[in-house]
């Protein structure tokens, strides 16, 4: 459902599957991803359902393109999705699961190492989004007032992503501090021989 609606939204101007993948690799990469092998059959299905209409078209470079445009029915489906409540599909965070069960390794240094790696990944991702925000702000004397509506909505999504990532990076740092404290407690306070 979500993928179909995202594709509908991306086909503002007529577009081929190949174009849409670029969108997922660029503008939409921080909230969704899809490969060509998923995009092509999905577009076909949507055409069968009457949400899209395709025609073959010669390309400047390479073979013929199949270019899709939205139908009125497709636009209606898109607007239904956009006006519906926020879709909070059960998100899955494998790295949090790893952290949650890492106690069973019985070695806090593993957790420390893991949190460090996680911090780095998240920070790199944060920088990526900050760059995207910077690109939006560039050459705009009245930022964010002089953004187009599309750009303004991009900004809103970037702000959520950036703040969330910064917070996660901070939480990793906090976790590393908690581990350091816990480790020093283990070497200092806990006697090796039980007190009985």
């Amino acid at each position: 459902m979500s993928l179909e609606c995202i594709l509908l939204a991306m086909i503002r101007e007529p577009a081929a599957g190949y174009d849409l993948r670029k969108e997922f690799a660029q503008g939409a990469r921080h909230f969704w991803s899809a490969e060509l092998s998923q995009i092509y059959p999905t577009l076909e299905r949507m055409e069968r359902r009457g949400w899209l209409k395709s025609r073959r078209q010669a390309s400047q470079k390479g073979p013929q393109r199949r270019v899709y445009r939205r139908t009125a029915k497709g636009a209606a489906a898109l607007h239904r999705w956009l006006r519906s409540e926020p879709v909070m599909g059960t998100e899955r965070f494998a790295y949090i699961a790893q952290l949650a069960y890492m106690a069973s390794l019985g070695d806090l240094r593993q957790t420390e190492r893991f949190l460090g790696q996680l911090r780095d990944c998240l920070f790199r991702f944060q920088k990526l989004l900050e760059d995207a925000e910077g690109a939006l702000a560039q050459e705009r004397p009245r930022f964010p007032d002089d953004l187009s509506d599309e750009e303004f909505h991009s900004l809103l999504t970037l702000r959520i992503g950036i703040r969330s990532l910064r917070a996660k990076v901070d939480a990793c740092d906090e976790g590393l501090n908690l581990i350091a404290a816990r480790q020093s407690r283990l070497t200092k306070d806990v006697p090796h021989v039980p007190l009985d």
Copy 2:
């Protein structure tokens, strides 16, 4: 892969599929979810692979249970996963996608309404995690020092979730302010008749 490893981690003590679902509905709900219809065949597959060993066992209440325990091979697979790098599977955020393309409704008030709803959802979720953290801290005079290793790792995951959610709630508030500013700009600064 991740689901299998999470199940392995959950089967610290021998457990039946029915028990494991409760874990997903309680302790693990903020980073993963799984239904019984997925859990049962996954456990079977893992047993065929030699990661688990099951035996039927009478229950206090209701029909016979099929109780699984980890094999040495299963424990090895779990430890490989825990020692591997953070698994950053391409996360999908449908609600961010909705926001990203909401410009095509051509009505900022829709975006305003949506951000308000989103804020509420995220805030409720934040409260849930804060309650879980509170339950960990309760009755612990030396919190977080007197947590078991398992509880300490739970705390680490809760801290990441709580900080991230707080940040997203703040970003929604920021977005609502930006929209207010943008709307007042539209009614004040932009002339209804183009200048030229």
